[in-house]
């Protein structure tokens, strides 16, 4: 599934226009990005959490030429799936499917 498919499916699922679901999808992902770009982390219950993870510098090699390459320390976004997501994905389509019930979506 790509972004435009997500937008279309979301519009159908929530009975909103594509315009609304497109904006919602953009706000959703941009907010997660902005949070991490300013060194905050994001936790979404049942889905997972996003955080910046630091990876130490190392000396790698160009696999083609064998030359040594110095790779400096870097910060990358890291996603850890929540319990529910991990369980469902591991069980696959044989397991119970996640449900969407608008009336149950209050926090």
């Amino acid at each position: 599934m790509n972004k435009s498919q997500l937008i279309e499916k979301l519009a159908v699922l929530t009975q909103q226009t594509n315009k609304v679901s497109e904006e919602a999808v953009n706000i959703f992902f941009n907010n997660i990005k902005d949070a991490l770009n300013s060194a905050d982390k994001v936790e979404i219950r049942g889905f997972g959490s996003f955080l910046l993870k630091s990876y130490g510098a190392y000396t790698g090699r160009n696999p083609k030429t064998g030359d040594k390459v110095y790779v400096p320390e870097k910060l990358l976004p890291f996603f850890r799936g929540g319990k529910d997501l991990r369980k469902r994905v591991d069980k696959g389509s044989q397991g119970p499917q996640p449900s969407f019930d608008p009336t149950m979506s209050e926090d």
């Binding site: 992902f29 907010n31 994001v42 889905f47 910060l75």
Partner: protein, 96 residues
């Protein structure tokens, strides 16, 4: 940041009711989750990609008792951030 913060942002920017904004967020999470549950990847350009990977069974060891046991084959979700986002993080770090 938590889910309620994203719901609030959608409420304010789109002028939706709290319930409608919450439905948008729950809907996104539901669609991403069910796609991954079917083993299909989710690709959000500019953000990143979730993929489902099959892991083979392997021998694990309880570090306390040193007992060996088999870790069953499993499917796991891995997230790969997009190059665009990686560059944004490099830039925002240089600013600070």
């Amino acid at each position: 940041m938590v889910k309620a913060d994203i719901v609030r942002a959608i409420e304010l920017k789109l002028g939706l009711s709290h319930t409608d904004a919450s439905d948008q967020v729950e809907g996104i999470l539901h669609l991403v989750k069910s796609t991954l549950t079917e083993g299909e990847p989710v690709l959000i350009s500019g953000f990143g990609q979730w993929k489902v990977r099959e892991k083979k069974s392997r021998i694990g060891r309880n570090p306390k008792t040193k007992e060996e046991y088999e870790i069953s084959p499993r499917r796991v979700v891995t997230f790969y951030p997009s190059n665009v986002w990686r560059q944004e993080i490099v830039k925002s770090l240089n600013k600070n």
